[in-house]
């Protein structure tokens, strides 16, 4: 197990190095550069800025400088935000994205998993069709449609929740972004859980359990849930990494101060260090999410445990 973990971490490190290198050189290919301004900056001033920020050096030197900085845990300075350390940008925005991602994923699991289980249990019944139709709707309706609808109704018209803004200490500000973001993932989870559960329910041991007279709820929860959750568990890890690294649409519709907007703004203005900092964070989270997913599957599925050892 430890060897397996070590291998996965080593692979993760290599993936991050490749990600860093690729994003560094791709950013250099972007037109524009980080010193573009709507009102033109005098050329001699622009030159001075580039000198001060190290952009005048040959590209390979810039690469090595950035790489050594990243290894030391220094992601550099944001040009767009007038020299703010990228570490600070992430430190201030990531907790918000993390909190929103966490509550949304919890909501998604609370809705999606039971819905998938019920759907599989009542296979091909009106309940199954109903749940799956709702799930399909959840998948098809993008969050930029659901978000404003929820904000208009529950926010503006009924005044239940604030239509925008985020306060980590005030759960009423979480509700609308959490529901909007959570619904999409709930729909995915419902479909994956249903598929996994159907697969498990068709196994011989389930028929044996039926023959022994084990009640249905016991078969579902005690015998099948663990195996039925494997596809959902494989999805949750990377999805969680994605959800906590920020969602531009949710952040824009509900004015949530998360990472997503920094990322998009950085790309728009060619703010290289912020682009790379957030890309690395996202890459790290995906690597970590995949490892956690694998561990979860190992725990859920004894056969996978034997295979890995």
């Amino acid at each position: 197990m430890i060897q397996y973990l070590f291998h996965r971490l080593l692979q993760g490190g290599l993936v991050l190095l490749a990600l860093f290198t690729l994003s560094f050189f791709l950013c250099r290919l972007l037109p524009g550069g980080p010193y573009q301004s709507e009102k033109a900056i005098p050329e001699h001033v622009k030159q001075k800025m580039m000198e001060q920020d190290g952009y005048h050096l040959p590209v390979h030197q810039q690469y090595l400088r950035r790489l050594s900085g990243v290894v030391r845990g220094d992601l550099g300075l944001s040009i767009r935000l007038s020299g703010r350390p990228v570490n600070d940008v992430i430190a201030q925005s990531f907790p918000v994205s993390f909190q929103l991602g966490l509550v949304s994923m919890m909501l998604a699991s609370l809705i999606g998993v039971p819905a998938g289980v019920i759907s599989a249990w009542k296979k091909n019944s009106a309940v199954d069709f109903g749940v799956m139709a709702v799930a399909m709707l959840g998948l098809c309706l993008p969050s930029f449609v659901i978000g404003p609808i929820l904000a208009e109704t529950m926010g503006r018209s009924w005044q239940w929740f604030p239509v925008m803004g985020w306060n980590g200490a005030d759960p009423s500000t979480w509700v609308l972004p959490m529901v909007t973001l959570g619904l999409v993932y709930a729909a995915y989870l419902a479909r994956l859980t249903r598929a996994g559960m159907l697969d498990t329910l068709s196994q011989d041991f389930v028929r044996t359990a039926h023959a022994k007279g084990v009640p249905m709820h016991r078969i579902l929860i005690k015998h099948c849930l663990r195996g039925g959750l494997v596809p959902a568990a494989a999805y949750i890890g990377p999805a969680f990494a994605g959800i906590i690294s920020g969602s531009l649409v949710i952040e824009s519709v509900f004015q949530v101060p998360g990472l997503g907007r920094h990322f998009v703004k950085a790309i728009e203005t060619n703010d290289v260090n912020v682009i790379m900092g957030i890309a690395l964070l996202y890459g790290g989270l995906v690597v970590l999410g995949n490892i956690v997913s694998d561990l979860l599957i190992l725990w859920l599925n004894p056969r996978a445990r034997t295979l890995s050892s």
Partner: protein
């Protein structure tokens, strides 16, 4: 098992219900703001920095304007007195702080992006370019702790207006030097907790993408007249979200309403809607080095086939169809030359060698992420209808869009300009040869000669007359096609009093007061 599930469901039900009860808002944020005397303002985005020497934007100007205050002078020799003014940490504001600020901004190592705003000062540009290294040769001199002498490059009758711009504000020398060297670009002096100002408010909190809160400065020289306890700036970039939030009682005043909502707001919420002129122009830049577009007749034809009234009535609601390039300001009144005349347009196009639009090159209109697609589509339609020519749309991200214009790698580009101060020079100077904002490939010696002549003219009305002639020449040559004068369309809650229309939209928050007002639905 069933029993425990039921208990779980019951607990979840109770939790959701209590969240709902908790969440139901009794008092809106505007009502709370009125009670606590905190004005809540939509600011369109987050400032890049609060160090006035590092920024160029309007968003920054709003916040910086609450934290700092500048000087006001009258003529080419500007003497300034600052009676007993204090920094928010208690240190006196001296002439030295102003001189230090100008020295810092002009220092080549500072690489201040908006440094041209100080080029009015004698030798400022030479010092900034490194052509002279002795700052004492620059026209900034401290006479005594409360008197500053500024010598200008040429007569600048609009200097009082210019000095209201944040690039002319002082910085606290003692605080800047505590956090680094004078011309060090990125230091922590302007960060929350460190920043010290001389304005009506002090920075209390700045959470990126969330809010900036400034609180009343008790050491402000006119603190007894300041009615607000604070101003909260919300960096809302999505103007649909902002409008929704306003209507839900979450802010006193918005930054902007989306053009397609203007009509709905004027119909349903006239009590909130404000429509005010703003010194800005939306225009189309022509690349005058492109074959076809290098002919003034072609550019004129494109302008004459442009129905500005229709554009402003249907697509750019709230904006005013322009009759010249520079928007209305003071006594300046350029000739109203822009009109809609499709017959004349067709005639000019034929004279230029494209009768009935035949053989006209297929150009593309460049637009950045800040542009509005519907505007371009309206233009395409007008030119197709009146001139029988087709143009394409070329969309680009903002950085590439700016670069394409600077490299003259475009045919036509949607653009806009907001004035920095109330004088036509802020609109006319940019069309000179080599100016970084020109980007049309067009220049005219006679145009530049007129601008130079005006700069030396001390009689204000004669000076404006020369500018009017220069603008007439610009409109005759038409390297740009102005189509609308900018307006501020926004929502404002009537409880925020003392908020008057201002051409530069630089509202003095120190004079705003909050009085709870019942609004009829």
């Amino acid at each position: 098992m069933i029993g425990s599930s039921m208990i779980l469901v019951r607990y979840m039900g109770i939790a959701i219900l209590s969240l709902l009860i908790l969440a139901c808002q009794k008092e809106t944020q505007v009502e709370r703001g009125n009670r606590e005397k905190i004005l809540i303002v939509g600011n369109g985005g987050d400032p890049k920095s609060l160090d006035q020497h590092l920024v160029t934007g309007v968003i920054e100007s709003k916040v910086i304007g609450t934290l700092f205050e500048g000087l006001v002078g009258d003529d080419a020799q500007s003497d300034t007195a600052m009676p007993g003014a204090l920094w928010s940490d208690g240190a006196p504001v001296t002439a030295e702080d102003f001189a230090f600020a100008y020295h810092r901004m002009l220092h080549p190592d500072m690489a201040a992006p908006y440094v041209e705003m100080l080029y009015f000062i004698k030798n400022a540009e030479a010092y900034n370019r490194g052509e002279i290294t002795d700052f004492s040769q620059v026209g900034v001199k401290v006479i005594d702790p409360f008197t500053l002498q500024i010598t200008l490059r040429e007569p600048v009758p609009y200097l009082p207006g210019v000095t209201r711009h944040y690039t002319w504000f002082p910085v606290p020398k003692h605080v800047v030097l505590r956090h680094g060297k004078m011309a060090q670009r990125f230091t922590a002096w302007s960060e929350p907790g460190n920043i010290v100002g001389n304005g009506a408010f002090v920075l209390e909190r700045w959470k990126w993408n969330d809010h900036i809160l400034v609180k009343k400065n008790p050491r402000y020289w006119n603190a007894s007249e300041v009615q607000l306890e604070g101003v909260k700036f919300l960096p809302i970039e999505n103007f649909y979200t902002e409008t929704r939030a306003f209507l839900a009682g979450q802010l006193h005043t918005t930054y902007q309403i989306p053009p397609d909502l203007v009509e709905k707001m004027s119909r349903e919420y006239p009590q909130y809607l404000r429509q005010e002129p703003y010194v800005g122009t939306r225009f189309m830049r022509f690349n005058c080095t492109r074959p076809g577009l290098d002919q003034a007749k072609v550019r004129q034809a494109l302008s004459l086939a442009f129905d500005r009234d229709e554009l402003c009535a249907t697509v750019m609601q709230g904006f005013e169809a322009c009759t010249s390039y520079t928007p209305k300001m003071g006594d300046y009144s350029p000739a109203q030359v822009l009109r809609f005349d499709p017959a004349k347009a067709r005639q000019l196009l034929a004279e230029a060698g494209y009768p009935g639009g035949k053989g006209f090159p297929r150009y593309a209109i460049l637009m950045g992420s800040g542009g509005t697609r519907s505007t371009v589509e309206a233009i395409q339609e007008m030119w197709k209808k009146h001139l029988n020519i087709l143009v394409d749309v070329r969309m680009m991200d903002q950085a590439s869009y700016i670069e394409a214009q600077q490299k003259l790698d475009f045919d036509m580009a949607l653009a806009g300009w907001i004035g920095d101060y109330l004088d036509p020079t802020t609109f006319l100077m940019m069309w000179t040869k080599g100016n970084g904002n020109n980007n049309t490939g067009w220049f005219s010696k006679s145009y530049e000669a007129m601008l130079q002549k005006a700069a030396q003219q001390t009689d204000p009305s004669k000076r404006l007359e020369i500018f009017e002639k220069a603008e007439a020449l610009l409109m005759e040559q038409m390297p740009i096609l102005p189509f609308a004068w900018q307006a501020r369309n926004y929502l404002h809650h009537p409880s925020a009093k003392g908020w008057h229309p201002l051409l530069l939209d630089n509202h003095p928050f120190s004079q705003v007061r909050l009085e709870p007002t019942k609004v009829e639905p």
